[in-house]
């Protein structure tokens, strides 16, 4: 059963140095505020997992939380590169960042296997690409019926999954809709999970296309209005495209980034919404 907690308390209870942590949300419902709380709590040695590391991972990587990144596409969607991610991979700043690189299809299937309690997933993927030679978690597998060779990837079972959603009820059932991404699978695959939500309500009215995460697979819920900003929450607020554009200049420069971190993250303890 999910416990309803303030964000800082939830992060303190669920996330520890050295954990494997997945923040998911595919363009939509990115748990930005939770990422900032991880930065504020100065967590260290994390393995960060995410299909599309974007601003929030650029920020966490730049802040030195991560030893390792497991991902399939790292960019600022519609804008360009992630400069903190590049600086870490190319120059080891602020520390070396090991990477484990997959395709979207592979990452999605790794979460599915993790959610399903099996140690691996099978897909048509990767064959002929140079990812096979660089990523140890891509292996061939032969169909026992047809003899055909396919690809296996291991299950992802993060210590903690963090997602943002529109609503939860007081029991901790979490409801999200719009672009669904891989959040359900990430939560089901994780040992512990935190959902930040726009609001906690008495009753979750059914919404077409909504996914419900039953309270018993959610460890903690924190009410964080605006917690996905500058990404968006369908039905609540739009994407702040200017913030994505503005991030390019901030992220490009170590000093500008460090200043931003001090001002907009560490300087905002207790401010609930996301900021960028």
């Amino acid at each position: 059963m999910a416990t309803i907690l303030p964000l800082d308390e939830a992060v303190r209870r669920l996330v520890h140095d050295g954990d494997t942590v997945a923040l998911e949300g595919f363009t939509h419902l990115i748990p930005m505020a939770a990422g900032h709380e991880l930065i504020r709590q100065r967590l260290r040695g994390l393995t960060l997992v995410r299909m599309t590391p974007d601003l929030v991972y650029d920020q966490m990587i730049g802040a030195g939380l991560a030893d390792r990144l497991v991902f399939s596409w790292g960019g600022n969607p519609g804008v360009g590169s992630l400069h903190r991610f590049r600086d870490a991979v190319q120059n080891g700043w602020p520390g070396p960042l090991a990477i484990e690189e997959h395709s979207h299809a592979g990452m999605a299937n790794r979460y599915v296997a993790g959610a399903s309690g099996v140690p691996f997933a099978v897909l048509r993927g990767y064959r002929g690409t140079d990812l096979v030679g660089q990523t140890a978690t891509i292996k061939p597998i032969t169909c026992p019926f047809t003899g055909e060779e396919l690809t296996a990837v291991p299950a992802l079972n993060p210590d903690v999954a963090i997602v943002h959603a529109q609503r939860a009820d007081r029991a901790g059932n979490v409801q999200l809709w719009g672009i669904l991404g891989v959040q359900k699978e990430a939560v089901l695959a994780a040992r512990r999970s935190l959902a930040t939500v726009e609001e906690i309500v008495d009753e979750l009215a059914p919404v077409p296309g909504a996914v419900l995460l039953p309270a018993r697979v959610v460890t903690a819920v924190a009410e964080v209005p605006g917690g996905a900003s500058p990404s968006y929450a369908q039905g609540y607020y739009d994407r702040d495209n200017d913030a994505y554009q503005a991030w390019d200049a901030i992220g490009r420069d170590r000093a500008a980034f460090t200043d931003w971190l001090r001002r907009e993250v560490h300087g905002r303890a207790g401010v609930s919404g996301g900021a960028a």
Partner: protein, 255 residues
């Protein structure tokens, strides 16, 4: 910059129009953000209003009335026939070969249309770390056909790519079959200079059309391998006034 003197359109507009024209009415089209999304939505506003747009975020049959700003833009969910999860879009839609056309970009592309979007320089010591694979390897593997849109220059059109992120024709004929890739592979590379297509026998990318005002030699100069010209090299039809008007109106919606 490659548009002919006096033309009322740019080379990028020509490229986008050429890409839009390549989309058949009714096709299911896997769309990435940027030029592919612009081209696909232009096709919807011109000759292919029933184009079925699929975004990797899970929107099936999206009908945005403005250009979406990301592959997960809210307008996609709002206008889609249905929204499915990311595992479903890859497993139930892309992987089984239900998608007619996949659009890809490239940081590097070689003569067999293998694509690099991962890294410039050695993987372990990158000169430039790029975003990586995303959906591209499986789009390249599984769509019935693949269209690449990329500006043409020697940095991009290289003798060999530093990293094969997405397989075109591997090292030539038979490689896709050997690898078990069930889609047909790239059918067209559309650039700001012209259109390249794989030679039916050798699979080598060959210049089959040049845009108005472009000298084929320009295309050869901007290609990092000895680019072959098709014997029946065509001249791309310039954008029509209707195409240009539709494209510019579409781009206006992005503001």
């Amino acid at each position: 910059m490659n548009a002919p003197a006096g033309a009322d359109w740019t080379a990028d507009e020509m490229m986008t129009v050429a890409a839009a024209r390549a989309l058949r009415p009714g096709a299911a089209c896997f769309v990435g953000i940027g030029l592919p999304s612009t081209a696909a939505n232009l096709a919807r506003r011109t000759h292919a209003p029933d184009l079925w747009l699929i975004y990797e975020s899970g929107a099936l049959g999206a009908k945005p009335d403005r250009l979406p700003l990301s592959i997960g833009d809210g307008i996609l969910a709002d206008t889609a026939d249905t929204v499915v999860s990311v595992p479903e879009i890859f497993n139930y839609w892309l992987q089984p070969g239900r998608i007619d056309v996949g659009f890809l970009g490239a940081a590097q592309i070689d003569r067999y249309a293998n694509i690099n979007t991962t890294v410039i320089g050695p993987y372990g010591e990158p000169e430039v770390r790029l975003p990586g694979a995303g959906g591209a390897p499986e789009i390249a593997a599984s769509c019935r056909e693949v269209i690449v849109i990329v500006r043409q220059n020697r940095r991009t059109f290289t003798e060999s790519v530093d990293f094969v992120t997405s397989v075109g024709f591997g090292r030539g004929p038979g490689d896709r079959e050997r690898l078990g890739l069930r889609g047909g592979g790239p059918v067209r590379v559309i650039t700001d200079l012209g259109v390249l297509e794989p030679d039916p026998d050798t699979r080598e990318l060959t210049l089959t059309s040049v845009h108005p005002g472009v000298d084929p030699e320009q295309a050869r100069e901007r290609t990092g391998w000895e680019l072959k010209l098709a014997p029946d090299l065509a001249r791309t039809q310039a954008p029509t006034p209707a195409e240009l008007a539709a494209l510019r109106a579409l781009l206006q919606t992005q503001r």
